[in-house]
Amino acid sequence: MADIQFIKPPNALRKVKVGQGEALLDPFLIRRAETAVAALRDDDGNWGTDEFDQMDEALARLEKSGNDLAGLRALHRNLMDLRAQAASYGYALLGDIAGKAMEFSHLRKSLDENDLAILRVFLSAMRAIHKERRAGDGGPLGRDLFDCLAALADSGPE
């Protein structure tokens, strides 16, 4: 049997807590952080734009090569970044669309002309939401948009 050592590491974070009992979340700090994130979202109008451009490039590359594995990976990575950024900034609809596009591309080992056209539609929708600064879930119109895109993605053969 292999040797196992259990080590008690130095606890540098002991200094961080005052008192012994359970320390609950200070709502003031969370509110302050959420306000800061909202301000950052409003000030940083460029978030997502790099990923849109990179997705555009990845799609163009795939339109030329078809089965380019590196292109597929790049596309998947862009969509993952977009989903994370959008949802973290409170753009739930954009995040959901990026997630659906990610799922769509992930299920395919290669993307044909039709698949790429569908992803172009997703990209256009995400760009429009970003441009119009439609944070949140987009309301009933946003849900309709998502449902239409999801139906489009689910309509093709896998």
Binding site: I4, L13, V16, K17, A33
Partner: protein, 177 residues
């Protein structure tokens, strides 16, 4: 209601943030500042972040998984296992946009303390930092693994230890180690 007798002084925490996406990095920094963390160093490159560890006494590392050229997973392995690692015991919080369970297991096996699936919120980050403060775990070292005890959370039993789970002492042990 907040227990004023017990609280966190996050201004005493020093953090290194490593994420190659500048917008996500700004978001993390903004949350940390708002939570009261004052000592923060950040980098967009894992290799550079590792060098930063030499001169910045970090209490916590917050690292993105999906980075190039060095991934967050490779970074975590380097921090834990490199002979020259400046601080192999430093707690690591791994962020990831991927939701696959396999990713969680890989991060755990690299010695990551906490795994956060994006989107990131202030509350999530606060919870993960305070979890590290409140639940310091012993480190385990064997031929294949060096890092915090992997049995603290119920991430699913490692293979071959199912029959030991009823044994309370097994909860403190590391099944695979």
């Amino acid at each position: 209601m907040l227990d004023r007798e017990s609280r966190y002084l996050l201004d005493n925490v020093s953090v290194i943030v490593i994420d190659d996406n500048p917008h996500m990095r700004s978001l993390i920094l903004s949350i940390l500042h708002s939570l009261g963390v004052e000592k923060i160093s950040d980098s967009g490159d894992a290799q550079e972040g590792y060098q930063r560890l030499q001169n910045f006494e970090a209490d916590v590392l917050i690292v993105d998984w999906d980075m190039k050229p060095m991934s967050g997973l490779d970074f975590a392995n380097m921090v834990r296992k490199d002979e020259d690692s400046p601080n192999p015991y430093v707690p690591i919080i791994m962020l990831s946009g991927a939701t696959e369970y396999e990713h969680v297991l890989q991060a755990r096996d690299a010695g990551v303390n906490e795994f956060v699936v994006k989107p990131l919120s202030a509350k999530t980050l606060f919870d993960r930092i305070t979890s590290i403060i409140d639940n310091p775990r012993p480190f385990v070292k064997n031929e294949h693994y060096f890092g915090p005890c992997r049995r603290r959370r119920d991430l699913g039993p490692p293979e071959g230890i199912q029959e030991r789970r009823a044994d309370e002492t097994a909860k403190e042990a590391v099944g695979q180690d």
